[in-house]
């Protein structure tokens, strides 16, 4: 359950940036190939946020699909695993998206 320590990191990052102000909403980017389950973060978030500036804040997760580019045919394609080959058959690919793991924004203000 690394999602618990991931969630602790999220709450720490936002709490520090909020500098004592109340946070009503947090937006995350989580890539589908990041190895982190959004559902588990959503489960942990209210518990970890309890007693912090983020208590009661809403959590919005942008799930980002995996995309890669083929080094041989240069096509860009959808990759639903870390080892999805290019439709042309090549495994020489560069991942373009899907491994994101970041806090995008916070919204300040009273939760309600």
């Amino acid at each position: 359950m690394h999602e618990l320590s991931i969630t602790r990191n999220i709450v720490a990052i936002v709490g520090e940036a909020a500098a004592g102000r109340r946070v009503s909403r947090v937006t995350l980017d989580i890539g589908r190939l990041s190895g982190v389950m959004a559902e588990a973060i959503e489960f942990c978030f209210p518990i970890v946020a309890e007693g912090t500036a983020l208590a009661g804040a809403a959590l919005a997760v942008n799930l980002i699909d995996g995309r890669a580019r083929c080094a041989e045919c240069h096509a860009e394609f959808f990759a639903d695993t870390l080892f999805t080959p290019c439709p042309c058959g090549s495994r020489h690919t560069t991942r373009l998206a899907g491994e994101e793991l970041s806090v995008k924004t916070m919204e300040l203000g009273e939760t309600g």
Binding site: M1, H2, S5, I6, N9, I10, A12, I13, V14, A17, A18, S24, R25, L28, G35, V36, T81, L82, F83, R91, H92, L101, S102, V103, K104, T105, M106, E107, L108, G109
Partner: protein, 270 residues
């Protein structure tokens, strides 16, 4: 204009309802600056752009560990595997065979008990046991605290035995030079596909318990193909920590990696 994000300090952002509001940016390096708004007709929740990588703190701490190792020409390896793959047995054997040639010390991560630390010390190497409690992986701060206690010698080898788990440790950089994933033949040749993050993050796959190959359905070619499907550059070594078969190749790998660590230090001008 903000030199980091390029946004206008004058603030030129409009809303459909025809009024502006202030916003603030906090950059990954902690720089904070505000773009003050104009008259507010009514209260708005303020949106603050953070754009911060969730693991930024761990990664910064891992970079400090990496610099600490580099200054001392210490080769640090992060050993990861499922529980029971034979990490501790491989370490015990490595310590017994190499300790006169290459000083070795161990950071031993487990959820509970000091059993593995005791085994390592009995094999003849200093060890610091890190119990993660409910945690399923080591992080860079735990390693930094462990190093302060372990005090490894310059030009030595530090082996970090991560918690037995093929999922979580893949995400947490500890500051190591390389991750070595240990896969035992009793686990099946499809492990690299089932746990792709770990095998994608590892530079080396050590297949252990090859003395049992005759007794299990483990296809060596398929295991390599699966590992390379996830990580085309991964190196593969075949060993039995119990019988000693193949260990010479592992020791040679360690000698070369230790040599490169020292060369890097020389190249860095020290």
């Amino acid at each position: 204009m903000c030199a980091i994000c390029g946004c206008s300090g004058e603030h030129d952002h409009h809303h459909d309802d025809g009024h502006d509001h202030e916003h603030e940016h906090v950059h990954a390096d902690g720089t904070r600056h505000s773009h003050d708004g104009h008259d507010h007709h009514h209260e708005h929740a303020r949106i603050v752009e953070l754009e911060t990588r969730i693991l930024a703190k761990n990664d910064a701490s891992a970079e400090r560990n990496r610099a600490w190792f580099a200054e001392r020409s210490i080769l640090a390896l992060n050993l990861v595997s499922a529980p029971g793959a034979g990490k501790t047995t491989l370490l015990e054997r490595t310590i017994r065979d190499l300790k006169d040639e290459l000083p070795i010390s161990v950071l031993e991560g487990d959820q509970a008990t000091a059993l593995d630390g005791d085994r390592i010390r009995a094999a003849g190497a200093p060890a610091v046991q890190i119990n993660t409690g409910t945690g399923c992986h080591l992080d860079a701060d735990m390693v930094a605290r462990g190093l302060a206690e372990l005090q490894p010698a310059p030009r030595s080898l530090v082996l970090i035995e991560n918690v037995g788990n093929l999922v979580c440790p893949a995400l947490f950089d500890l500051g190591e030079r390389a991750k070595a994933a240990i896969l035992s033949v009793t686990e099946g040749d499809d492990k690299p596909l089932k746990y792709p993050h770990m095998f994608a993050a590892a530079q080396l796959m050590i297949v252990n318990k090859i003395d049992l190959l005759a007794h299990v359905d483990f296809n060596v070619d398929r295991a390599v193909a699966h590992a390379r499907a996830v990580n085309p550059a991964i190196e593969v070594l075949w060993v039995s920590a119990r019988s000693g078969k193949g260990l010479a190749g592992w020791y040679e790998w360690l000698r070369r990696a230790a040599g490169r660590t020292r060369d890097d230090r020389i190249a860095a001008g020290a």
